[in-house]
């Protein structure tokens, strides 16, 4: 397996993980805000809406990723012209898989914002929208950023299923390597190198998340 092949696999994995994380947040962030705002102690409690959205999120989260991938094939085909066989064919299912998870993560992060801060801003005459934009999201930013790292690592894990629809990437590359060298894969340096690469990517995502979170957290700065 040539060196460039590995580079391509890394690019596919990192690229599709980044894109899926982004898309999952484009959908999941508003959904998480909605779940938080409509909850019992939220800005605008609304039981039926909270229960309905919560139910959809829970159902999505209960379907195993591999099944979602299969269910998404016709949909992906409709958008990209093909349902399997290219790196981008796993993008939509990854997004759908992560969406529910992201919604709950965001909901949880926002719930950590002290009620007193929200109340103080309300007492200034702020609208609910202003409270969300000026208080909830910025005050929860540290927790949101660490959440992104957790989500990205899970999505990277889900890219394993790319093997099943021929969508490439490093992890399915490792598995393909195994299927071709079932007898001596454990003795192959390349096999181990690829595994180390996966570990490095995961560590990189986590460290980057922590680094940014630390950088933007003003709660514990001391001059």
């Amino acid at each position: 397996m040539p060196f460039t092949d590995i580079l391509i696999m890394i690019a596919e994995t990192v690229g599709v993980t980044a894109l899926a994380t982004l898309l999952a947040y484009v959908l999941g962030l508003p959904c998480g805000v909605l779940l938080n705002v409509t909850s019992k102690n939220g800005l605008k409690p609304c039981k039926w809406l909270n229960v309905t959205v919560g139910l959809i999120v829970n159902i999505l989260r209960s379907i195993p990723c591999l099944i979602i991938i299969v269910l998404c094939i016709p949909f992906t085909r409709g958008i990209f012209g093909r349902g399997t066989g290219e790196w981008f064919t796993i993008l939509i299912p990854l997004t759908v898989c992560a969406f529910g998870f992201v919604s709950r993560m965001v909901e949880q992060s926002l719930a950590e914002v002290p009620a007193g801060e929200i109340e103080a801003i309300k007492s200034l005459g702020a609208t609910d929208f202003q409270v969300i934009i000026k208080v909830l999201l910025p005050e929860a930013r540290v927790s949101l950023v660490t959440g992104v790292a957790v989500v990205a690592v899970s999505i990277l894990g889900y890219t394993s299923f790319a093997y099943n629809i021929g969508a490439g990437g490093l992890i399915s590359g490792i598995y393909t390597f195994y299927t071709r060298h079932t007898g001596d894969y454990l003795g192959s340096l390349l096999f181990w190198v690829m595994i180390v690469l996966v570990v490095l990517i995961v560590q990189g995502i986590q460290e980057l998340g922590l680094f940014i979170a630390k950088k933007i957290d003003k709660r514990k700065v001391l001059k």
């Binding site: 007193g116 200034l124 001059k223």
Partner: protein, 330 residues
């Protein structure tokens, strides 16, 4: 002017409704510094949070300059809240914003497109002009409360509600925050409602006071009057608490009240002229609204013989007095 009429607040719970406020009637005039004092759980915090409708009253009216807050639209309520600001026990600053940005935010909410100048001005007013780019976590409690006060002033309010605003601060810092509030009251004509469980806080700043106990207002009026003649158990507890503990049961004492108009050595005269060797059970002098207010509680050696002599003298000298039951002193 704030008028609270027949205010009630109950919280529903599984074991029936919990009454937090009952039959509250209170009028705060423009320019007042109105103290609301009570023991923990009396309902004072709920009361102040009803004034800007952070808590929705179960029934009754909250009128601000004649406008009933319980009947206005949501948008109108948000407008009114800009004129009725609030500060809190735990300051509630946004932790991820600098001091300046915290104050600016209040301006943005009030519709100010360029709040920076005014924010800087107000931070100067509260004495924090050199802390603009600090974050709340880098400030002491007193400094944080000053930022919160600057934030509360951004919308140019007429009323400032203080919910236990000094309870998390040490005595010295408390004093400086109260001085600041007093200055704002004089300088800006700000009407202040201040909730506290400490009589010392109320005494040092308020002109009027309401005592709240078990969800109800048990006495209210000018601080001087409430301080000199506490009429009910809670008022007595709040005023005498920790100062008087005679251990004497079933006796009558006499309490003398001074309000700045007496400049004779009354106590000395009672002893030297009337030849009554009184014991002083309690004595306190306070400056309330720039008037010296004092009270002395006497124990008479033989009450029945001396009381007539004493009361005649006090009446002649124009010193208000009343009999107190020794059991009623804590």
């Amino acid at each position: 002017m704030i008028e609270i009429k027949n205010l009630e607040k109950t919280y529903p719970s599984k074991s029936g409704d919990v009454v937090a406020l009952k039959d509250i009637n209170l009028t705060v005039e423009d320019g007042d510094i109105y103290g609301i004092i009570g023991l923990s759980g009396a309902g004072k915090s709920t009361l102040v949070r009803c004034i800007n409708l952070l808590e929705k009253p179960t029934s009754g009216q909250i009128l601000i300059d004649g406008e009933d807050l319980t009947k206005v639209t949501k948008n109108r309520l948000l407008e009114i809240r800009k004129k009725v600001s609030m500060i809190f026990q735990h300051f509630n600053l946004l932790q991820q914003r600098s001091v300046l940005k915290n104050v600016e935010l209040a301006g943005e909410i009030a519709g100010d497109k360029n709040p920076t100048e005014r924010a800087k001005e107000l931070l100067k007013l509260v004495g924090l002009e050199d802390r603009l780019n600090y974050y709340p976590s880098q400030l002491s409690g007193g400094q944080q409360q000053r930022v919160a006060i600057a934030r509360a002033l951004m919308s140019d309010p007429k009323i400032l509600l203080c919910d236990e605003a000094t309870s998390a601060l040490d005595p010295e810092t408390t004093h400086s925050i109260l001085e600041l509030l007093k200055t704002l009251n004089k300088k800006l004509g700000l009407t202040i409602v201040i909730i506290s469980h400490q009589m010392s806080v109320i005494e040092s700043i308020c002109n009027k006071v309401a005592i709240i106990d078990k969800s109800q207002i048990v006495s209210c009026g000018y601080l001087k009057d409430v301080f000199l003649s506490p009429t009910n158990e809670v008022a007595k507890k709040l005023i005498y608490s920790g100062h008087v503990n005679t251990g004497i049961k079933g006796e009558k004492f006499v309490k003398l009240m001074f309000t700045g108009e007496v400049d004779k050595p009354i106590v000395a005269n009672v002893i030297s002229e009337l030849k009554i060797s009184v014991s002083i059970m309690y004595a306190e002098t306070k400056v309330i609204n720039d008037t010296v207010c004092g009270q002395v509680i006497f124990r008479l050696p033989s009450y029945n013989e001396d009381i007539k002599k004493l009361t005649d003298y006090l009446t002649r000298e124009n010193v208000p007095f009343e009999e107190v039951d020794s059991d009623a002193l804590y």
